[in-house]
């Protein structure tokens, strides 16, 4: 069997929480990366943005297009000139207890020499009045190979216990 869809690393947040989830020293031996997350933050708001950054490189290199549904209407928006990619993939402390946001990032050609495009599907469910389903097309305008990924919360609060992230490598041969 080809060595594809292989778990590279995973992280499960323990008691006390964690300010970030980091994958480092990512080998360039795969074709694509797939990052699956299940996250909840300590923010008091209903939802908290997850911020993704590659190679500890901020600046203004991240942009995205979003398509979002909130249970009432669909909308589209964009961001540009950011230091991270935003995602609605983390539930805040006001959300239904024990309910986590979920997201899946697909990053093709992550070790190549072109700018990096990202496909993101994310949800933030809540048994209440506020919840989101979001599709995003992200761009990191940087030609470097991706060797590290850091996830943080926009609120600068911790990811709570039982938050998880799994990084897979996918090979096309």
């Amino acid at each position: 069997m080809a060595n594809t869809y292989k778990l590279i690393a995973s992280s499960t947040v323990g008691s006390g929480g964690a300010a970030n989830i980091t994958f480092s020293s990512i080998a360039g031996t795969y074709t694509d990366l797939l990052l699956k997350v299940s996250l909840r933050s300590g923010a008091s708001a209903f939802n908290d943005y997850v911020l993704l950054q590659f190679n500890s490189s901020g600046g203004t290199a991240y942009s995205d297009r979003q398509l979002t549904g909130n249970g009432t209407a669909a909308s589209s928006a964009s961001r540009s000139g950011n230091a991270q990619m935003y995602a609605i993939a983390s539930s805040g402390a006001s959300n239904t207890a024990s309910t986590f946001g979920n997201g899946e990032y697909y990053i093709p050609n992550y070790a190549g020499s072109a700018n990096k495009s990202i496909s993101l599907d994310a949800v933030n469910e809540n048994n209440g009045t506020e919840a989101y389903a979001n599709l995003s097309a992200g761009l990191w305008s940087n030609t470097a190979a991706i060797t590290s990924i850091v996830l943080t919360n926009n609120s600068a609060t911790n990811f709570v216990q039982y938050s998880t992230a799994y990084l897979y490598g996918i090979k096309n041969s």
């Binding site: 297009r65 669909a74 589209s76 697909y106 093709p108 599709l135 097309a137 992200g138 996918i170």
Partner: protein, 161 residues
Amino acid sequence: MAAGATYEPIATQTASGSTTSISFTSIPSTYTDLIVVIRVLGSAADFDLRINNDSGSNYSVTRIYGDGSSAASNRATSQTAIQMTLGGANPGVNILQFNNYSNTTTNKTMLQRLNIPGGYVGAFVGLYRSTSAINRLDFIAQSGNNIQANSTYTLYGIAAA
């Protein structure tokens, strides 16, 4: 490839220069589902997806998408192919799923996640009104479009057991 292997790369095609079509032929029926991951370069990237080389009016597509300002949805029926946009100024990332592609009882559906940074983001569902097993996929550039060099198309097989 024996059943049991999952997320197995069946074939990859990398465009070596500007071309007008990419084809996967003789797709084995030994998997449960198919996934196609497409990374397209180039600003003119409108394509027709044709299944089993069938050019009959057997396709429909329903789309929801956003352009960064507004969201929209539309639909086309009785088409001769599934029309799709795959790329833009930045590399487009497209993930297509064909579930239960090899059964000979039901019509075939396809789910596409479209990502064109700086362009469109969306989800499309396509229907191929045929009970035949899928054994061929053709991505055909529409008039005035082409497949830029270094665009990649990878076909994966997913096995349930």
